[in-house]
Point group: C2
Chain length 350, copies 2
């Protein structure tokens, strides 16, 4: 990705293509169930993985870096593992969850913005005409992002996300978004943790959009979440100190930004990285760059149109093209959802 | 601090005033001893603290937030504690350690830069004329920072710092810099950790300048260090992926930047914060802002001219003025080195 400006950069995750993919606004219904966390049974730590190449490669890698005396042994303090989120830990089709969130917020905020009735892109959006809204191009996208992600305090934004995620449902399956997580990846996160790995999320998504729920859903606490962020300003408001969210991008944690974000937040180079799109390629390159060391890179290949979605090179969301071509020479494991996972979501499949 | 530009901002830590405070280049000698980490004996977790107000206040706070059933109980996941570094965890007089490092690097790099023989501020610096070097003002400072902190890969910079800190000695005491740590604070860090606190360094100093040694010296791993940073770029160099350090500031973690850095890196609001200067005021305000909650803010007041240094309102390094005035109304504990600590450094005192 080569952003021509910061708003366009922000749009990578959320906007043009994903908007185009959905004809109407999603329906949000209240719900109370919560996603299960990955609990690996004794004996087989990865029961939702078929006994195929990828699983064997993972088990072999973990044994080599954790076994005292192994030539590939890595001390616990250096066992950093990084996971992309959208498309790697949970479903990203037919649109990024954060886009769903932005659309929902436009609707919620509309009564406070009577001017939106005639102001694009909001006017079209509120009429359900997403394509019309996008006729405005990048400035329209920027308006949507800024209207929904800034202008409130950090604490208010956290509460907004927390409220939303409690009831937000996937537009196709009708399941809670927090249930749209990949059971095999929950098992993998838990397995690595039990082997002394320090797991981080490194996502192009908004850092403050993920932190309110990643601990509950993945067992990954806020300080271990790396993502894109906007600027904030420390100031006094009505006698209270707050961090105001400004309508300005601070950092885009995608593509070549992922190694930068990893360095800034973690300060160590990962020894294992998991992704699913070209946006994860730099993270995998950074992780596995020194071929003299035992390092692990894995790409989740979405190959199962029946149980999940099948997409790669031509997809508007989660495009996997250059990274797929690079995988063999880089020594990355490419796992196929259709062939290598016997279970997709905790509740089953799409 | 209101930086007029990013270089001036960077200069807060290091430059003008601190330069002015030393007449000549420090002497660096090899050494092998390492600083001791704080081990609190059974019975008294804070033996280097006198049985005065500050110690009692700390013990009381920790009991209130950790005791199940206490109205002030805080779950472990939320027990975030943040520590400033210079002047709070280790000595900052007569100059910031990072300035010492920058001066050392100018000397090391000089042979590769014959042009420095006639180019200010390097020419003056290399002749030992610090005041002359500073006649160039902010642009001179920027040149020194950029020449010593950018233009190499992140891995190279880490090695440079690691090599330096192994032998760097304090210009007054002749002790290793890693021994110039406050024994009472090592005990406090260990005590909080043993009570389920999650300790972070939040310093105006460079994040990559601290990370190579904070685990060894304080038991605080790289991911738990927040500091000022420069921009980096992910790129291929001689067939290897690297993060190049660019001559451009990314973030200044000082003053109102501290709450911003805390939010970006930790994602939770601290419940305890420890500082010593006006640069820590915003961090303490953010930590203790909600007076309905049990929160703790402490200022280390440098009052001991014999065993350490005595300075506050008029100091060029570690100025403590507005924060000292704000302390009573804010409910912050102001501890006096002279009165409240029976030991300063692990080896004794200055």
């Amino acid at each position: 990705m080569k952003p021509t400006n910061t708003f366009l950069a922000m749009s990578r995750r959320a906007m043009l293509s994903a908007f185009a993919a959905i004809p109407a606004m999603p329906i949000l219904l209240p719900a109370s169930a919560q996603a299960q966390t990955g609990q690996a049974p004794v004996g087989d730590p990865l029961p939702s993985w078929n006994d195929t190449g990828p699983k064997r490669t993972i088990l072999d890698f973990v044994e080599r870096v954790t076994k005292q005396g192994s030539p590939d042994f890595v001390p616990e303090a250096e066992r950093i593992a990084t996971f992309d989120n959208d498309g790697t830990l949970w479903a990203e089709q037919p649109m990024y969850s954060q886009l769903l969130f932005a659309l929902y917020r436009v609707k919620v905020l509309a009564p406070q913005h009577p001017e939106w009735a005639t102001e694009e892109p909001f006017a079209s959006l509120l009429k359900g005409d997403v394509k019309g809204a996008l006729a405005g191009g990048e400035p329209a996208i920027a308006k949507i992002v800024m209207a929904t992600h800034s202008g409130m305090t950090s604490a208010e934004f956290t509460e907004i996300v927390r409220d939303w995620i409690t009831t937000a449902k996937h537009p196709v399956t009708g399941k809670l978004y927090t249930e749209m997580v990949y059971q095999p990846m929950l098992e993998l996160v838990a397995y690595l943790k039990s082997n002394g790995f320090n797991n981080f999320i490194v996502s192009g998504g908004g850092i403050d959009f993920m932190r309110p729920w990643t601990d509950r859903v993945y067992g990954i606490v806020p300080e271990k979440v790396v993502g894109s962020s906007g600027k904030t300003k420390f100031e006094m408001q009505n006698g209270k100190w707050v961090l105001m969210r400004l309508p300005e991008i601070s950092f885009i944690d995608d593509g070549p930004g992922k190694p930068v974000g990893i360095h800034e937040h973690i300060g160590l180079r990962p020894i294992a990285a998991f992704g699913n799109s070209d946006g994860d390629q730099a993270m995998l390159e950074w992780t596995t760059g020194d071929k003299s060391l035992a390092r692990f890179g894995l790409l989740v290949h979405h190959t199962d149109a029946v149980r999940e979605w099948a997409y790669d090179r031509d997809s508007k969301v989660g495009k996997l093209d250059k990274a797929l071509d690079a995988a063999p020479a880089e020594g990355w494991t490419v796992m196929s959802m259709k062939d290598d996972w016997n279970k997709i979501f905790p509740f089953g499949s799409k």
